[in-house]
């Protein structure tokens, strides 16, 4: 799972019917300290995350195990909103 920040939304009118009603957000991966890392990723939101929020995203086939994503064509899902990251 990766830490990421919500930096935008995606609107798609024509899409797979199984994605209807799902919120798509653009994520920017971040380090545990909060610094931006390379690349962007589009993820399905399962926890009602908001703009600029730090979130936990799961990738690969595990994303389909998130609630509401069963048997949907999804490979990245937001599964948590991060309150705090503690580094030793």
């Amino acid at each position: 799972m990766i830490l990421a920040r919500v930096v935008g939304t995606v609107v798609a009118t024509r899409k797979d019917p199984r994605l209807e009603g799902k919120k798509l957000l653009v994520l920017k991966p971040i380090s545990p300290e909060g610094k931006d890392e390379a690349g962007y990723v589009v993820a399905v939101d399962t926890v009602s995350a908001g703009y600029r929020e730090r979130v936990l995203a799961v990738a690969g086939s595990s994303a389909r195990m998130a609630e509401g994503c069963k048997d949907t064509p999804v490979d990245t899902a937001i599964v948590g909103i991060v309150d705090e990251v503690h580094l030793d």
């Binding site: 830490l3 545990p32 936990l56 609630e67 994503c69 309150d83 705090e84 990251v85």
Partner: protein
């Protein structure tokens, strides 16, 4: 499976219900020689690993298998705590260090060469 070291933890109040009760730890991936490599990531934990501990973790759908029959949405999971690693000797045996050709005198490789058996 990969080596890693637990370097922190993550709190999430709002999360997918299937992740309730899961510990979320920040893990720094390591080489077999225990040097840091790659980005730190967040893993669920099936072993009760603690801060600073050397662990091994799996990636992919298999990461949710330790929690069966529950299927939490996780793609990285700590599945073992490492007691000791014997990878150093193995790595050296596979990649022998050759002497610098400049420092070896000419013909030195022949000095200890086995002589043909005399009749």
């Amino acid at each position: 499976m990969y080596f890693g070291r637990v370097v922190g933890c993550v709190w999430c109040t709002t999360k997918n219900p299937a992740l309730l009760g899961q510990r979320l730890l920040v893990v720094q991936p390591l080489t077999p020689q225990l040097e840091a490599t790659g980005k730190r990531l967040v893993c669920t934990d099936s072993t009760g690993a603690g801060a600073g501990e050397l662990v091994y973790w799996v990636r992919g759908k298999e990461a949710s298998f330790p929690f069966l029959p529950a299927e939490p949405p996780t793609d990285t999971c700590i599945v073992g705590i490492v007691d000791s690693v014997h990878a150093q000797a193995l790595a050296e045996a596979r990649q022998p260090t050759l002497p610098d050709p400049a420092s070896v005198p000419a013909g030195a490789h022949r000095k200890n060469a086995r002589k043909p058996p005399s009749c």
